[in-house]
């Protein structure tokens, strides 16, 4: 009797599994963003927007007729935990794709896991480049889509001759400043006109540095190119304004301050400073307006902190369209298989909230426009400059690899042993 029951049970299970693979069972996706710790300040918004995108797709019937079921894990701003949680998503939850990470160190931490299992990660934040894994799609900016245009703008339009490269002490600012320095030197800026300085994470006392900036900018022809990350920005800008410096004396061009970060700042003293991104909430188009409204409504409806006061910004847009890119690629190739999806993503053209964009044919990055925005008193950016058309991404900077030899991409499908 017991044996019969067992057989029936096994048969039922087998039946359930086959039907699950065929139709009604949802497809799982992983969301790997810190919801606690240092980076929660930025990454929570990305989780929210990815959930919103899956809701939207599900409402329209899902992907390949399947509903998407998001699995949210919290790596808690703890870099090694990113690798563990990625493994958990892949092996335990068997997700089809993962959306996640903010800091470069977290991406570097979980990258080996995605490569080992040949799984896909959509990474939505601008970063320092010098990486190209077949297991990652980079929907944020590569250096030539953010850093270089901004430095060019500072030279041409702001008339800057001296550059203060100020950053938080970790991999993104250090590599970014390497690229920036190589670029500035190649444009004939003498090396004594370039200052480079780093502060630890959470640095709070910027008195000495502002003193130096003041001395550096006394001639009125200097700017700060800031890669300061996270909560240090608040004391930095406050001290800058309190010591009597304004955007007229020395503009700050920031690479890590967007609308979301401005919510935590006292904006009036920042008016006139700049930021370089591939998207601003202030982009005037119908699709963007709808996106902004939907995001605010989503946050309010789900009782998320901030509610209607929430804003969108570059990484939020990149995280959002990442989900759509994946869904479109799946529809295109008619499969959830990683290798097929990867091929389908290459060269994919799509409509993002900020306008039409395109995935690169081979290097895993995204073709995007570049905008320079000036901070307005309502915490939004006025777009003062934009590129004509989309900028082609470079995973390895041509300013660092002057010989034209770029490393081969890592990861990808496992070579079958012969």
């Amino acid at each position: 009797m017991k044996r019969i029951l067992n057989t029936v049970g096994a048969a039922a299970m087998a039946f359930a599994m086959t039907t699950g693979a065929n139709a009604e069972d949802p497809v799982k996706i992983g969301i790997l963003h810190s919801l606690s710790g240092t980076m929660a300040i930025s990454e929570t918004s990305l989780r929210d927007v990815v959930l919103m995108a899956t809701d939207e797709i599900n409402a329209k019937g899902g992907v390949l007729g399947k509903q998407i079921k998001p699995i949210v894990v919290d790596p808690a701003s703890d870099w090694p935990l990113f690798a563990e949680k990625a493994k958990e998503l892949i092996t335990k939850h068997e997700v089809a794709v993962t959306f996640g990470c903010w800091t470069s160190v977290s991406r570097k931490s979980c990258l080996p896991v995605f490569e080992e299992y040949n799984q896909l990660l959509f990474y939505p934040v601008q970063y320092e480049g010098e990486e190209q894994s077949l297991n990652v799609f980079y929907t944020g900016a590569s250096p030539n889509q953010q850093l270089i245009p901004a430095a060019q703008y500072a030279m041409d339009e702001l008339g800057c001759k001296k550059f203060y490269l100020l950053g938080t002490d970790y991999v993104f600012p250090r590599t970014a400043n390497k690229v920036l320095k190589a670029f500035l030197l190649s444009k004939g800026v003498p090396s004594e006109n370039i200052m480079e300085e780093y502060t630890p994470f959470h640095h709070q006392d910027y008195q000495t540095i502002i003193g130096k900036v003041k001395k550096f900018a006394i001639g009125g022809d200097a700017c700060v190119l800031s890669t300061i990350n996270g909560d240090s920005n608040v004391p930095f800008y406050k001290e800058f304004a309190n010591q009597g410096l304004t955007a007229d004396d020395c503009p700050i061009v920031a690479f890590s301050v967007a609308e979301d970060e401005l919510r935590a700042m006292d904006v009036p003293p920042l008016v006139g400073h700049l930021a370089a991104w591939n998207y601003f909430q202030s982009i005037k188009s119908r699709s963007n307006k709808t996106f902004v409204k939907n995001f605010k409504k989503y946050c309010a409806a789900n009782n998320l902190p901030g509610g209607n006061d929430r804003v969108t910004d570059d990484p939020i847009e990149a995280a959002y369209f990442g989900v759509y890119v994946w869904a479109a690629a799946v529809e295109k190739c008619g499969s959830f298989d990683v290798d097929k999806v990867r091929e389908a993503v290459y060269g994919l053209e799509f409509e993002a909230p900020g306008g039409a964009k395109k995935m690169h044919e081979s290097n895993q990055h995204t073709l995007k426009p570049v905008y320079i925005g000036e901070i307005k008193k309502n915490g939004q950016f006025k777009i003062v400059w934009e590129t004509e058309g989309l900028v082609v991404p470079e995973s390895y900077s041509s300013y660092l690899h002057t010989d034209g030899k770029f490393p081969a991409p890592t990861g990808g499908p496992k070579k079958t042993a012969l």
């Binding site: 606690s36 710790g37 240092t38 929660a40 300040i41 929570t44 002490d169 300085e197 780093y198 502060t199 630890p200 959470h202 640095h203 709070q204 006392d205 008195q207 000495t208 540095i209 003193g211 130096k212 001395k215 006394i218 001639g219 009125g220 022809d221 909560d231 920005n233 608040v234 004391p235 406050k238 001290e239 304004a241 309190n242 010591q243 009597g244 304004t246 007229d248 004396d249 979301d260 970060e261 919510r263 935590a264 700042m265 006292d266 904006v267 009036p268 003293p269 008016v271 902004v292 409204k293 605010k296 998320l304 902190p305 901030g306 209607n308 000036e374 307005k376 008193k377 309502n378 006025k382």
Partner: protein, 577 residues
């Protein structure tokens, strides 16, 4: 190429300046006429209209240009208006109040102040060509502004390269007659920089020598790089005779020395002030901990969270004031008072929570240091998560107007008002704590209980009540530190763990556990030491914030080796308790 561009740029500015210099004030009607062209005309007509506007020299136009540059000009029913702060309704439509561009009074529509949906307005923004033109004219107009900040920034910009030589006369006049000292000095310096640039055509002239001497006498930091450039290019100038060259070389070198001397003096003063202000922040942070940990012996890992609560209490008071202003109970001008009102609120809020924590957790853990360490750590985590759930991660505290900007104490040394306020707040709280501990009855009981709980109990002191009060008081002080922090730093739920807790313990331990005086000396000492180490340079290597911190920790580690009990170690029988 660059020179050519510079020429054409200068000539454009000259044009403005010439019209501007010979102008008299125009009547409002013609100004409005020109403004209207800006909104409607073609590119050339707009350019001409902008020039005509500058030529009126009307200081009110400076803010008009500012609005033009920041995109807050709108055309509505063919009337040009300035937009105020944009508000959003529940449907996420944006509404903007409109003002007259010249008088800045609300624009009336049907007897009411106009509040228009932004989609119904045409935004007027300058073209790229007009932008740089506007920026330059802005600086000239600023010279006649009524605000000293505007005059100062205008005076500075006119002298900076490439400079606006046509502003020379005006600058000289300002250098003598402007009511504000720093504006006078900057205008004078800029005028000298302009004549320095002009005198470069003839280095042998008496005028050149004089202006270099003048620049040195003004201690012009802005002039330094220009004189240095002259000194460097001197050997390349072949047509100078030896005698003149020597004279120039001597003159340049001595001027550079004077200015550099001034700079190093300024830097030393700045280090002292910065150290003092960093020190006072540290003292304020550690003051509460000196009581809860130093006197009571509770290893209070939640100390940072009490500071965080103080900061959030400040934010709440700000929200309350905004709410009252929206409902018309308070006028907009009363907003700055929120910061005054927030002081007692921050103290009481943090104190109340401290009291609750004492009653529910701490009182079971006296004389159990390890358990209290873990328990308070847990309390801290709970508080962080509660605050995160309530507020999310991003909130902004607006500094009151009076705490913005700074005061120039010595030429080129600016001490921000916010930091002055913190130094003062630190001094006041320190003295109050001293008076409370040393001169009052409750202070006496507190000290008795902390020194020997059983003896105090035996002598009739209600030690439980004293413990409760002391812990709440220490927590309240932490709340005040968080309140002060909102002026200079950011507010996040985990600010306590990230920014404060380590530094606070460092100060208390270095100062000597149980001694309030130790907190002052070690706090200020650590502050000044950091600020002296940070700018140090060895060849190409600068210490910077990272190595300053490392150095500081090494110094303290060595210090603790030799004086394990800190600067002010308890002596005699107290040492054993």
């Amino acid at each position: 190429m660059t020179r050519l561009r510079l020429r054409s740029y200068l000539s454009a500015v000259t044009l403005i300046a010439l019209i501007w210099a010979g102008s008299s004030s125009a009547d409002d009607a013609s100004i409005r006429g020109h403004m209207h062209v800006l909104a409607n005309g073609n590119a050339d007509a707009r350019y001409a209209a902008a020039g005509a506007l500058v030529s009126t020299g009307d200081a009110r136009l400076e803010s008009f240009f500012e609005s033009y540059l920041t995109d807050s000009l709108y055309l509505w029913n063919d009337v040009l208006l300035v937009g105020g702060d944009i508000t959003e309704d529940d449907d996420l439509n944006e509404w903007v109040p409109l003002f007259d561009p010249l008088t800045r009074t609300p624009y009336l529509h049907g007897g009411e102040a106009a509040l228009i949906m932004i989609d119904d307005l045409e935004e007027i923004s300058p073209s790229r060509k007009e932008r740089s033109f506007m920026l330059n004219s802005k600086h000239l107009l600023r010279l006649s502004s009524s605000s000293e900040h505007m005059r100062l920034s205008g005076a500075k910009k006119c002298g900076n390269l490439p400079g606006i030589p046509e502003a020379y006369e005006q600058l000289q006049l300002m250098g003598e007659t402007d009511p504000v000292e720093i504006v006078r000095r900057t205008a004078q310096e800029s005028a000298r920089l302009i004549s320095f640039q002009a005198s470069l055509d003839d280095l042998t002239s008496e005028a050149h020598m004089l202006v270099v001497q003048d620049l040195a006498a003004t201690k012009s930091i802005r002039g330094l790089s220009r004189i240095e450039a002259q000194l460097q290019s001197l050997p390349e100038l072949r047509d100078l005779d030896v005698e003149t060259r020597d004279r120039l070389e001597h003159l340049y070198a001595s001027s550079i020395e004077t200015i550099k001397g001034h700079i190093s003096f300024v830097e030393r003063c700045a280090s002292v002030f910065q150290g003092l202000s960093l020190g006072s922040v540290l003292v304020l942070m550690a003051l509460g901990l000196a009581i809860t940990f130093g006197l009571m012996g509770v290893i209070n890992m939640a100390h940072g969270e009490f500071m965080m609560l103080g900061a959030y209490a400040t934010y709440e008071v700000q929200c309350l004031f905004n709410w009252l202003i929206e409902r018309g109970v308070l006028s907009q001008s009363a907003f700055d008072w929120y910061y005054v009102a927030a002081l007692p609120v921050a103290f009481l809020a943090a104190g109340m929570i401290g009291l609750i924590v004492e009653v529910s957790v701490i009182r079971f853990l006296y004389r159990k240091p390890l358990e209290s360490l873990l328990a308070t750590w847990g309390v801290g985590l709970v508080l962080i998560q509660l605050v995160r759930l309530r507020y999310g991660d991003n909130i902004g505290v607006t500094a009151p107007m009076w705490a913005r900007g700074g005061i120039e104490i010595i030429q080129d040394v600016v001490l921000p008002y916010s930091r002055c306020f913190i130094i003062a707040l630190c001094a006041v709280s320190m003295s109050l704590v001293y008076i409370l501990m040393g001169k009052t009855r409750i202070g006496l009981r507190m000290r008795a209980t902390m020194q020997n709980r059983d003896m105090a109990k035996g002598l009739g002191v209600n030690t439980q009540r004293v413990d409760r009060f002391t812990f709440a008081f220490g927590s309240g002080l932490a709340g005040i530190a968080g309140y002060a922090w909102t002026l200079i730093g950011g507010v996040t739920p985990d600010m306590g763990q990230k920014n404060f807790i380590i530094d606070s313990f460092l100060v208390v331990v270095t100062g000597g556990v149980g001694e309030l005086a130790g907190v002052i000396f070690s706090g200020i000492g650590i502050g000044i030491l950091t600020k002296f180490v940070e700018p140090l340079q060895f060849g190409d290597f600068t210490m910077g914030a990272i190595w300053a911190k490392v150095t500081l920790l090494v110094v303290i580690a060595i210090f603790i080796q030799f004086k394990p009990a800190g600067l002010f170690a308890p002596k005699g029988r107290l040492a054993d308790v």
